[in-house]
């Protein structure tokens, strides 16, 4: 590339320049992105004391460089270091203009964004989510390891859910109200125009927002900040997509005051890493900025990233053993095409207009208006006959072997062979479904979509003023309004004529999904089953003061606001005729917080930093309504979530070495978790219910309320520059994330409203969804010839399964006659044995990353490649207990089988995967 050329030129000049000047090396450093002079770059002659910094115009000049072969090193934090071998012989070497690049390893974020978009959680209990994307722009050794090395096993920094991290665009918070998490797919595939990022770690001060405990990533999309030029890249991978094409162009700020950035991208896979998982995504981005004058500028940003992909199923160990770790129960052959029944589609175009006002040298006011509208759909089967899931428990070998002495070995053998031979029966049998529908005009099987159409309008203003050289004041106001339309949409009747909108598990009026339109015949495209809107609004005021002194930096921040939700039912559900239709009561949650932090600079090398904060956050929509599809019910005693968090760090910085050690302690309280499942063994004897409600098996909506969690631990990260070309990193994370109390569990069904089932004895159970310990050792070699390679080895451990709360209530210890368990010869220990929390095996991962680039004419060409999990380890990233067998009798009977029918379900991580990226910059 260009640097290579410069060396050649350097050598050339070095050899021919007349030796009139005395042993000087000079040059000018420009920022490769902006073409502006780069100041403060440290320039030194290796193995000597000769050094200097670039001045305001980017120039440098080193005098008295000894004769001979020397290496000139140019270094600046956040940029790629550059090394120029020169030969000095009583002359002056002019290295000319040197373009200084932001750290090349930025290409790494491609793999991180990919992980963040995976969003495996969906609606399954205990699914993982990923925080790696939030940390990607951090420069901290520890956090880079977490993002790039640990991300593939769903490692969560400090065990925090991604809903405790905030993602903003130009200071506008983007987390969704439904689950408070950032919806990464809304900006997936826009990597090259999202390079301008600000990251605030944990409680640390952010200029635009109060933030949250995990931290804040702010993408800045002002077109004027992007260097003139373009980039085209192609990536090949075997992850959830096969290939990516991306092209972008920026004009930079032009003489007429306009600046434009555009990007288009495409990511695709007919079949991704998991069987039957397709990937189909487009990305489009445009930012137009008009700088009116020194004081005023307007920036318009719009992006749209329609994305449709086939999901993959969590499976029991029995299924993985039969079908392999890439087995996916969601697809089947339709003709000669693989068709996935569970597609996720996200189409949420976003538009933002920002006004940047430099009121004076010291004061700015940035006002944004954001509009986002679109749809998220998750498809699945509906059926009135047998479950089409090929891994439905009645279709697995274990089902035929469950009765000791009466095993049906023949059927088990046939079922086993279906999987071993990849027979069509081991997948969804689409043709059978069409055949069944051909016999009945009223659909027996159909494919429908759970649709969530959100429209958000938000306005915020961010104020920033520097009172004097020591004090800065920030403040912001945010108002956000979301209208969330939720319904089931008939996607494909699979050859049937219509579907009658009835609950086939209920009878009479109770079976009607909408009493206002009974027995309605639904055709493709129609809404049916459930239909409601939630209006949500959020107001937030934020103020912050930052103080900077020689020895001490400190900040204080506070916010205050409120979030309100109101459901409007559009269907009058037959089972909830009284409280399903019309507007429900408005739910209002106060939100507020205070935080502060202090950094004490013992010396330039030693720093101490302490942060503390208390905050109240609104619960997400998902955890506010106990069964929002059918009624207005609110989770019992719902209130704002409370978080208390403290952390303390020691930092060491010295030439060639930097290290950080942090301890943290966070408690979450008043959390709620809403879930839905079918359970057998529910003792309703103590419930106040009409006589006709009998039995012990129900489809339940369950809300766990008043949960407290405690996350504490220590983080260590160090980077040592062993030689100019070799650096080593070491990272360790020791966490302990537990439930900290025994919350209350309420259950409801279409036969009874939410009823207190009892205390769930969860205290000291481990939180799930992340390894709680992680260790990483990395080696990096950066060749003066402008290629680099790094390798790291990682050990991740203490990852636990997501537990089922209903198994930890008194209901579990009660038999179907209401008698307590244990009894007779069964000891408490033997009973409790069934409730021990599964701990996953430790994971050992080795990753390789490298890259190189060249200059050809005026273009730069490069590539970046990574191999993750080089050793091909098969490992579980997460899983959950099934709640179906809800009491001891039921659970122990199932668990005592050689192969339980309702064992834990798991997700497996990827074995060896690669990512190669080629790019051309011009």
């Amino acid at each position: 590339m260009q640097k290579f050329l410069i060396i050649v030129l350097g050598l050339f000049f070095g050899s021919i320049t007349n030796a009139q000047s005395l042993n000087v090396v000079k040059g000018k450093v420009l920022n490769a992105d902006t073409s502006n002079p780069e100041t403060g770059v440290k320039v030194r002659v290796q193995k000597t004391d000769i050094s200097g910094n670039t001045s305001d115009d980017g120039t440098f000049s080193l005098q008295n460089v000894p004769n001979g072969e020397q290496i000139i090193a140019l270094e600046k934090e956040g940029f790629e270091s550059q090394y120029f071998p020169v030969t000095i012989n009583n002359n002056t070497v002019d290295l000319g203009e040197i373009l200084f690049y932001v750290d090349l390893s930025q290409e790494l974020d491609n793999s991180v964004i990919t992980l963040s978009e995976d969003d495996l959680s969906d609606d399954e209990a205990g699914g993982a989510d990923n925080v790696a994307g939030i940390l990607q722009s951090s420069k901290d050794t520890y956090q880079r390891a977490v993002a790039f090395n640990f991300g593939q096993v769903w490692f969560k920094e400090r065990g925090y859910d991604s809903s405790y991290g905030q993602v903003s665009f130009n200071g506008m918070p983007m987390n969704k109200l439904s689950n408070n998490r950032p919806q990464w797919s809304d900006w997936g595939g826009l990597n090259d125009v999202l390079r301008n990022q600000e990251f605030s770690n944990g409680l640390a001060a952010s200029e635009s927002t109060f933030g949250n405990v995990l931290g804040t990533t702010n993408f800045i999309t002002r077109a004027s900040l992007n260097r003139e030029g373009g980039k085209v890249s192609y990536s090949a991978t075997n992850s959830n997509y096969d290939g990516r094409v991306m092209a972008s162009y920026n004009t930079g700020l032009m003489d007429n005051g306009w600046a434009l950035s555009v990007l288009g991208s495409r990511r695709y896979a007919q079949e991704g890493y998991m069987e039957g998982s397709s990937y189909n995504a487009w990305g489009g981005f445009i930012a137009i900025e008009k700088v009116l004058n020194d004081k005023h500028s307007f920036n318009f940003t719009a992006f749209y990233t329609p994305n449709r992909r086939g999901k993959n199923s969590p499976n029991t160990q029995e299924v993985y053993d039969l079908g392999g770790v890439k087995y996916n129960a969601y697809w089947g052959w339709q003709g000669d095409r693989k068709r996935n029944s569970r597609m996720k589609e996200i189409k949420e175009p976003t538009f933002m207009l920002g006004h940047y006002w430099n009121i004076n040298d010291k004061t700015t006011l940035n006002t944004n208006i954001m509009y986002q509208t679109g749809t998220i759909g998750n498809s699945r089967f509906g059926y009135t006959a047998n479950n089409p899931d090929p891994t439905y428990y009645q279709k697995l070998p274990s089902y035929f072997l469950q009765h000791e002495g009466a095993e049906d070995y023949e059927s088990a053998y046939i079922r086993t062979n279906y999987f071993l031979n990849d027979a069509p029966e081991s997948q969804v049998m689409w043709d059978d479904l069409y055949e069944a529908n051909a016999l009945n005009p009223d659909a027996t099987y159909y494919l429908y979509e759970d649709v969530n159409d959100d429209t958000t309008l938000a306005v915020n203003s961010i104020f920033n003023t520097q009172i004097d050289e020591n004090i800065t004041i920030n403040g912001s106001v945010l108002y956000k309004k979301t209208s969330s339309d939720n319904y089931a949409r008939m996607m494909d009747l699979l050859g049937a004529d219509y579907f009658t909108d009835l609950d086939r598990y209920a009878t009479g009026d109770e079976a009607q999904m909408d009493l206002n339109n009974p027995n309605r015949q639904v055709v493709e495209g129609d809404r049916f089953n459930y239909n409601y809107t939630i209006d949500a609004s959020q107001l937030d005021l934020f103020a912050q003061a930052q103080f900077t002194y020689d020895k001490v930096d400190l900040y204080l921040a506070a916010n205050y606001g409120a979030t309100a939700y109101q459901r409007d039912g559009l269907y009058k559900n037959g089972s909830y005729a009284d409280d399903s239709f019309g507007k429900g009561e408005k739910q209002q949650f106060p939100t507020y917080g205070v935080k502060g932090g202090i950094t004490y600079k013992i010396s330039g090398r030693h720093l101490l930093n302490v942060n503390a904060g208390y905050m109240a956050k609104a619960p997400s929509l998902r955890n506010t309504y106990s069964n929002s599809r059918v009624n207005q019910d609110i989770v019992h005693n719902i209130t704002s979530e409370k978080i208390i968090s403290v952390d303390a760090s020691y930092r060491y910085r010295a030439p060639g070495i930097k290290a950080r050690l942090t301890g943290y302690y966070t408690t979450f309280s008043d959390l709620n978790e809403v879930s839905f499942f079918y359970a057998q063994g529910i003792n309703i004897a103590g419930f106040d219910l009409p006589d006709e409600v009998t039995g012990d098996s129900f489809f339940l909506n369950s809300s766990l309320t008043g949960i407290s969690k405690k996350n504490l631990g220590a983080e260590f990260g160090a980077e040592v520059q062993v030689t100019p070309t070799v650096s080593l990193t070491g990272v360790a994370s020791l966490g302990q994330y537990t439930y900290d109390n025994n919350p209350d569990l309420y259950i409801g069904s279409d036969q009874f409203s939410a009823t207190y089932l009892g205390t769930a004895y969860l205290k000291n159970y481990k939180q799930s969804g992340t390894p709680q310990q992680g260790y990483s050792l990395g080696f990096s070699y950066r060749d003066p010839k402008y290629w680099w390679v790094s390798a790291n080895a990682n050990l991740l451990s203490h990852n636990y399964i997501s537990i089922s709360p209903i198994l930890r209530t008194d209901n579990f210890y009660t038999d179907s006659f209401g008698n307590p368990v244990p009894f007779n010869d069964l000891s408490q220990e033997e009973v409790d044995n069934y409730l021990s929390q599964e701990k996953f095996d430790d994971i050992f991962l080795v990753n390789l990353v490298g890259g190189k680039s060249w200059k050809i004419k005026d273009k730069y060409i490069g590539f970046f490649a990574s191999v993750n999990n080089l050793l091909g380890e098969q490992f579980k990233t997460g899983g959950f207990e099934q709640s179906r067998k809800a009491n001891f009798e039921e659970l122990s009977t199932d668990q005592n089988l050689d192969q339980p029918l309702f064992g834990n379900k798991y997700w497996y991580g990827r074995a060896t995967s690669y990512y190669i990226n080629f790019y051309v910059r011009f």
């Binding site: 192609y234 290939g243 695709y268 003709g335 068709r339 047998n386 699979l494 050859g495 009479g508 079976a511």
Partner: protein, 472 residues
């Protein structure tokens, strides 16, 4: 570069939508071996078990299965007459040998549900017999798989291999049976139809039809039985509905008309039942044929100190059937009549079809003439009690033109409370009829207690006591 981009974009096409609806091209199954008739294999089973050589397998003879070897390559042909879409049929498929004029039927027992998605109503199927076994089970001839030495549900894989579908589903014409009294084993397992039927009045609320009984009694755990009565001859058959049927909570159709369903036996093999696929199998659109109810609508209080008639049966000996002045008659000419019985010293009249050998059993017990000319505001009261109740069998009428032949008199039913006790044992006490207003009648009045049941059908024991008319 742009060429490269275009090329990449073109190759990046992902086909993840627009799946063509598969052509459901039915291919006729390739048949090997020979067809054997249902009759052949049913006779084979009879031959196996008929020890006394009368071509009938009586209950005291063996019921051994006949098994078909795994290399037996012949098949039977049948037409599906049961539809499990509503869940009223469960893991079973009734087949008959002809869609219009069936002579034989066999039930297939299979170990999976939602058979309607493959073997829909009227579907012609070929059932290969290899690896299957045939036996009588709970009164019905069942073809299944031999598991643990008995004919059990054939497993899904076995069923898929052995039951082949023809491409055609034909219309099945139900076999019309004149009335439940005509039912016998020749119709068992076939789609049959009865005309001029209605649900028993005790199940129907005439004035508020929505308050009528539902297909399934909420207190039943497995199947519910609801009595359907013929308007032609008053004979009855039970409708059997599963507690898992989707229409279990629907109210019974209140009118009169035709009903079609599969004729089957109840779980205990005690009586015939009719099993429908859905409420659509009823076409009860006509008016009911209930007897006329006496409705005097007297605004004054009725009853008084003037005892016009009072019979407590205490003066008669046990087993007496001929009571002076009373008429006690079996309309079909049988021997069973109301009899005097006693319990704890108290005497009453009793009738039961249990072990009567008569089906139907219809017995009328009529009072002597009760003259109402010298009284006003008359009230009729009586008491009833049931034993081993398996259905309503007693109804009470009045007439003013009775001359000794119950068939020629004009009878009006009275609106009285009739005992309805448990299915096992006797009620502990009698049920009062409540006050029955007969004040609008004059001259000689006759009160009739009609017992209608049948051996093998409704056999409830009914007891009647303290028949009394008072007035002013």
């Amino acid at each position: 570069m742009s060429v490269l981009l275009v090329a990449l974009t073109l190759t990046s096409c992902v086909e993840d939508t627009d799946y063509a609806t598969p052509q459901i091209n039915c291919e006729e199954p390739t048949l090997t071996g020979q067809e054997v008739s249902m009759e052949t294999i049913l006779n084979q089973w009879i031959a196996e078990n008929d020890t006394d050589g009368d071509n009938i397998v009586e209950y005291n003879e063996t019921e051994n299965p006949i098994e078909f070897d795994s290399d037996y390559d012949n098949y039977i042909v049948g037409y599906v007459v049961s539809d499990d879409k509503t869940g009223n049929f469960y893991k079973e498929l009734y087949l008959q040998n002809d869609p219009v004029n069936p002579t034989k039927s066999i039930k297939l027992a299979v170990d999976f549900r939602s058979l309607y998605t493959k073997y829909d109503l009227g579907r012609k199927v070929y059932v290969y017999l290899h690896d299957l076994a045939l036996n009588k089970n709970r009164g019905e001839m069942v073809l299944g798989e031999m598991i643990n030495n008995q004919v059990d549900d054939m497993r899904e894989n076995r069923a898929k291999e052995n039951i082949l579908r023809n491409c055609d589903a034909v219309a099945v014409t139900p076999v019309t049976i004149a009335s439940p009294s005509e039912v016998d084993d020749t119709y068992l397992g076939m789609l049959v139809e009865f005309d001029n039927m209605q649900f028993d009045l005790s199940l129907i609320d005439i004035t508020n039809p929505e308050n009528s009984s539902t297909f399934v009694d909420p207190y039943d755990n497995y199947d519910s039985h609801r009595m359907i009565t013929s308007c032609d001859d008053n004979s009855q058959i039970r409708l059997e509905t599963s507690t898992f049927a989707s229409f279990k909570d629907d109210t019974l159709p209140q009118g009169q008309g035709s009903v079609k369903g599969v004729l089957a036996r109840d779980y205990g093999d005690n009586f015939y039942v009719l099993r429908v696929s859905s409420p659509d199998d009823f076409s009860f659109t006509g008016d009911r044929c209930d007897p006329v109810l006496l409705d005097c609508n007297n605004p004054n209080p009725i009853g008084g100190s003037n005892v016009v008639f009072d019979e407590d049966f205490e003066s008669y000996a046990n087993y007496t059937t001929a009571l002076p002045g009373w008429t006690n008659t079996n309309v079909n000419g049988g021997n069973n009549l109301f009899q005097v019985r006693s319990y704890s010293g108290a005497h009453y009249m009793q009738c039961s079809a249990y072990n009567s050998g008569e089906a139907p059993l219809e017995v009328w017990l009529v009072t002597p003439a009760i003259n109402l000319d010298s009284s006003t505001d008359e009230e009729l009261t009586f008491e009833t009690k049931t034993g081993y109740n398996n259905g309503a069998a007693l109804s009470v009428f009045v007439s003013t033109d009775f001359t000794g032949d119950v068939s020629t008199a004009e009878w009006m039913m009275v609106d009285a409370e009739i005992a309805n006790g448990p299915s096992s044992g006797y009620q502990s006490s009698f049920t009062s009829s409540g006050s029955v207003d007969i004040s609008c009648l004059d001259g000689d009045v006759y009160v009739a207690f009609k017992y209608l049941g049948g051996d093998g059908g409704v056999t409830t024991t009914f007891q009647v006591d303290n028949v009394k008319v008072t007035g002013n």
